[in-house]
């Protein structure tokens, strides 16, 4: 298997790198990769005491445990902070989703959950498939609209077949992919015109499918080892195509989830009504819910508009509701990323990444002026302004990543990418097909799909309540697929020494983690940030860590600045005219391989804001970039020996992670 070969190459190179001469020790302002040093000899004739890092003292050959003089040495005392990032997908569709089952997806929620847990399944196109590594948790988020009705329809449910329209759609679905797609289009059209046959919207179908969905989650939920979160997607396509979708994630299990059916867009397309439903649901059941919106990039300016759904000016009450129900935003998935856009962040050399920026969900072209209300970095900035104006920040979003797969397979690894629909499962020409085609609107091509992403959750344990609580406090980060470990803490007292030890100990003791809030100090001290990242064990080395700051000035204008705070190959790279020397590129595109001979496996640093203004509202988040590695299109080239002739098609990618921000709020 390809990933095994890469693992071997990576491991050999890492082992070789371990014997290399020491890198220069960290300096202020960046450039401090974890220092290389001589290997330690223990157990047997000591070849001499060595040090792991320059300034922590020597190891007694007899007992390296004396090495770490951490405060509160007892390993069990006070250790209730999160210790392992738990990786999962909060966005999976299966055959039970209207637009997945309708185009032939055969993977049920049960198989999709088994796949996420690491089992092998057979994909819709008949190919055996398995994740390179199991996920820690998954949320199956089938659409609440027509939930399960589609599989009843395809299966020829006797009651449904009494309706002539439903019978016709049933036959079309069985007559082939073209007919099936037409049936789905007719169904979507009928839904948007409120002309669906009543049998399809009959709550009894939804009730039985919802109950079956919950049963599957209960069957596979294994506290401590694997969590199956109960969830669904509320799929608002406002005005016929402006994406305002939200995933609803339940904290609780069957007892509470079974009491109320999911909210649908037959009832409302307006997120403000969704929040009202969530309020009623919590009152009725005593449970907890949260919502995660996605694809700002396909909302044609509506996702982060500075007005309510109806176009009125925002109010504190509106902002309170939004902030209360929506702690996270899914910033990257198969339909591109919604973190940053080159037209908004003109000095960000990494913003032009996996862009889907031409239209909305049905590819109705964007109008000028819409993009600024679609990307979360701009929203984070605008949120500071709304807070200054009305008192609450409606866009106080932490970051998440998911796939939005519609073939049941949460497969975001570049060398294992099974695409969004069954038609995009691996085949030689999938890069060149029309992935999305609505009427005469511009087409989205297969190569534009992104092999992403996952959410890493810093939960105290792998259970529903602990994962949900961590999402609610925004202690999460999004990744484009790889499972790098990222820590990000903000406080006023971090020092260089804190970068040489376990970050969590100093981080939680002296600061707040990602998703947290900083209050000002009386002395107006500048905040310091402790940030660390460790590569995915099978993935590429790290290029650099950046800290992205956004703030509101006294004239009510927002700004952003990107700081490169630590990078690999520190001895060979420096910042000139505000740009860091690029890390290089070891990708061999003909074979879809790379080598971890550039960059670093781990980066840690402490950084202080050199441009801090204690009177300005601000946020900071970390973005971690890997070295270039092959993109899924390149793995297709190598596997199918196909020629990708279009120069627009990227064959390499720099995978990345974005943490939830830490917010700074000045005194009133």
């Amino acid at each position: 298997m390809r990933s095994n070969q890469l693992f071997v190459i990576g491991a050999v190179l890492l082992a070789a790198a371990c014997g290399s001469p020491p890198a220069p020790a960290g300096k202020d302002g960046g450039g401090s990769a974890v220092g290389a040093s001589q290997s330690i000899q223990l157990g047997g004739a000591p070849a001499g005491a060595g040090t792991l890092t320059a300034d922590v003292g020597e190891i007694e050959p007899a007992d390296p445990a004396a090495f770490h003089k951490e405060p509160g040495y007892s390993p069990y005392a006070g250790r209730n902070y999160p210790q392992r990032p738990l990786f999962g997908d909060e966005h999976v569709h299966t055959a039970w989703s209207v637009d997945a089952g309708g185009v032939g997806t055969t993977i049920s929620p049960e198989e999709a959950t088994r796949f996420a847990r690491g089992e092998q399944v057979t994909s819709t196109s008949g190919q055996p498939v398995r994740l390179g590594q199991p996920l820690d948790w998954v949320a199956i988020t089938d659409h609440s609209d027509g939930m399960g009705a589609i599989s009843e329809l395809r299966g020829g449910n006797v009651e449904m077949m009494k309706d002539a329209t439903l019978k016709k759609w049933h036959d079309m679905m069985l007559a082939g992919p073209a007919e099936g797609k037409k049936a789905v289009m007719e169904l979507i059209t009928a839904q948007s015109n409120k002309k669906l046959p009543p049998a399809l919207t009959d709550p009894k179908f939804a009730a039985s499918m919802w109950a079956r969905n919950i049963e599957i989650a209960e069957k596979y939920n294994d506290p401590g080892r694997f969590t199956a979160l109960i969830a669904y997607e509320w799929t608002s396509n406002a005005g016929g195509g402006d994406n305002l979708h939200r995933n609803i994630i339940y904290r609780d299990g069957k007892d509470k989830a079974i009491q109320v059916l999911p909210y649908t867009t037959f009832q409302s397309e307006n997120p403000e009504d969704l929040w009202k439903w969530m309020t009623e649901w919590e009152k009725k059941t005593g449970g907890r819910l949260l919502a995660i919106p996605h694809n700002g990039n396909l909302s044609n300016g509506r996702m982060f508009a500075l007005t309510t759904f109806g176009g009125d000016p925002v109010t504190k009450a509106w902002a309170d509701e939004r902030q209360k129900w929506e702690p996270l935003f899914e910033a990257i998935q198969m339909k591109g990323q919604s973190e940053s856009h080159p037209s908004l962040s003109t000095t960000d050399e990494f913003a032009a990444y996996e862009l889907w920026d031409r239209g909305n969900l049905t590819q109705t072209p964007k109008k000028s002026g819409q993009i600024q209300y679609e990307y979360v970095r701009e929203a984070l900035k605008n949120g500071l302004k709304v807070e200054a104006d009305v008192g609450t920040n409606p866009f106080k979003y932490g970051l998440a990543g998911g796939t939005d797969t519609h073939n049941g397979l949460t497969a975001a690894e570049e060398d294992n990418f099974f695409g969004k629909f069954p038609s995009a499962e691996p085949r030689a020409d999938r890069w060149n097909e029309d992935a999305l085609k609505f009427g005469n609107n511009p087409v989205v091509k297969g190569w534009e799909m992104t092999a992403a992403g996952y959410t890493a959750v810093w939960a105290t344990g792998n259970t529903r309540a602990e994962l949900w609580d961590a999402m609610m406090r925004r202690e999460t980060y999004a990744t484009s697929g790889p499972r790098m470990t990222v820590r990000f803490f903000g406080g006023y007292d971090f020092t260089r020494e804190d970068a040489t030890r376990t970050p969590a100990v100093a981080g939680y003791a002296k600061g707040v983690p990602m998703g947290g809030d900083l209050k000002p100090t009386p002395a107006g001290k500048a905040p310091t940030f402790l940030v660390a990242a460790l590569k995915d064990k099978f993935g590429g080395n790290l290029d650099r860590i950046q800290i992205i700051k956004g703030w509101l000035d006294k004239d009510g204008k927002t700004h952003e600045k990107i700081y490169d705070v630590v990078w690999g190959d520190a001895g060979k790279r420096k910042i000139v005219n505000g740009k860091l020397t690029p890390v290089g590129n070891t990708v061999d595109v003909t074979r879809a391989t790379w080598t971890n001979t550039i960059g670093a496996p781990e980066l840690v640093t402490v950084w202080k804001d050199p441009d801090f203004d204690p009177t300005a509202r601000a946020f900071y988040y970390a973005r971690v970039l890997e070295i270039p590695t092959p993109r899924w299109t390149d793995y297709d080239v190598a596997y199918f020996k196909t020629k990708i002739t279009d120069p627009k098609v990227p064959l390499t990618t720099q995978e990345r992670a974005y943490t939830s921000p830490i917010w700074y709020t000045p005194e009133k």
Binding site: L52, D63, A65, T189, G240, G241, A499, T502, K535, V604
Partner: protein, 251 residues
């Protein structure tokens, strides 16, 4: 060649009949298209195109746009009929797969009626011990180059240790002596020294301890097997003969 043998199977005739039935049905159902080389654009067709356009664009099509939509619809209809006349739908692997899937789902639903007996579960457990064996549980400290890898893990299953450190590290810990620092041990991140403070070996559970999981896996297997069993039954009713030269053979 395998494919030729399959194409020779009477299953294909079964599919032809099925598709012919679908074709006959759709000709008889309301809103279906007229046959032969006369194409009728009915009100239903026009309404459909208008509502699809409206849903996508937020407004009804202009007369010129509607003209284009209708031309495109006619073009697709003509190509579809010409394709069907050439038998292109009969050789369509996706059509075949769809009918196959429907039969397999029917077989699975039939099989789901009876719950497993204790005897069946016990037999399943013995036959698949590797799936239910609980991995070794490790408590250890480690030191290496990374500051992010945990220095201590308490009562962690070996497979989760492998997820963080890599499989070779977990395996080394399963064999390491208890209480003493050992190394160097290689993980996916380089070299470590580790001390295992406690370890429980893998445990083969009794049925009572893992009953729910065994039932779940047993039912999952039955779902897979239901397809095979139902196919075996159908197969028994067919005679297959090969009337082709397979590559590598000589006549």
């Amino acid at each position: 060649m395998r494919i030729r043998r399959i194409l020779g199977e009477p299953m294909l005739h079964f599919l032809f009949i099925g598709i012919a039935l679908f074709a006959v049905y759709s000709r008889m159902s309301p809103g279906s298209r007229s046959s032969g080389n006369h194409i009728v654009i009915t009100q239903a067709v026009v309404d459909d195109l208008v509502t699809q356009h409206t849903a996508a664009r937020g407004r009804a099509p202009s007369p010129i746009e509607l003209g284009h939509l209708l031309e495109n619809w006619v073009r697709e209809e003509i190509l579809y009929r010409e394709g069907v006349a050439l038998g292109l739908d009969r050789d369509d692997i996706v059509v075949k797969r769809r009918v196959r899937q429907k039969l397999e789902v029917m077989a699975e639903e039939e099989a789901q009626t009876t719950p497993p007996t204790d005897a069946e579960l016990a037999a399943y457990l013995s036959a698949h011990l590797d799936r239910f064996t609980q991995p070794a549980i490790l408590s250890f400290e480690q030191r290496g180059r990374s500051v992010l890898l945990p220095h201590r893990m308490l009562e962690m299953p070996a497979d989760l240790v492998a997820r963080d450190f890599g499989p070779s590290f977990a395996q080394a810990l399963e064999r390491a002596p208890i209480g003493a620092w050992t190394g160097p041990i290689t993980s996916s991140f380089g070299v470590h020294y580790a001390r295992v403070s406690a370890r429980t070996p893998p445990v083969v559970p009794r049925l009572e301890e893992v009953r729910d999981q065994v039932v779940r896996e047993w039912e999952n297997d039955r779902r897979q097997h239901a397809r095979d069993e139902s196919y075996a039954k159908m197969r028994a009713g067919y005679r297959i003969s090969v009337e082709a030269t397979l590559p590598g053979e000589q006549r």
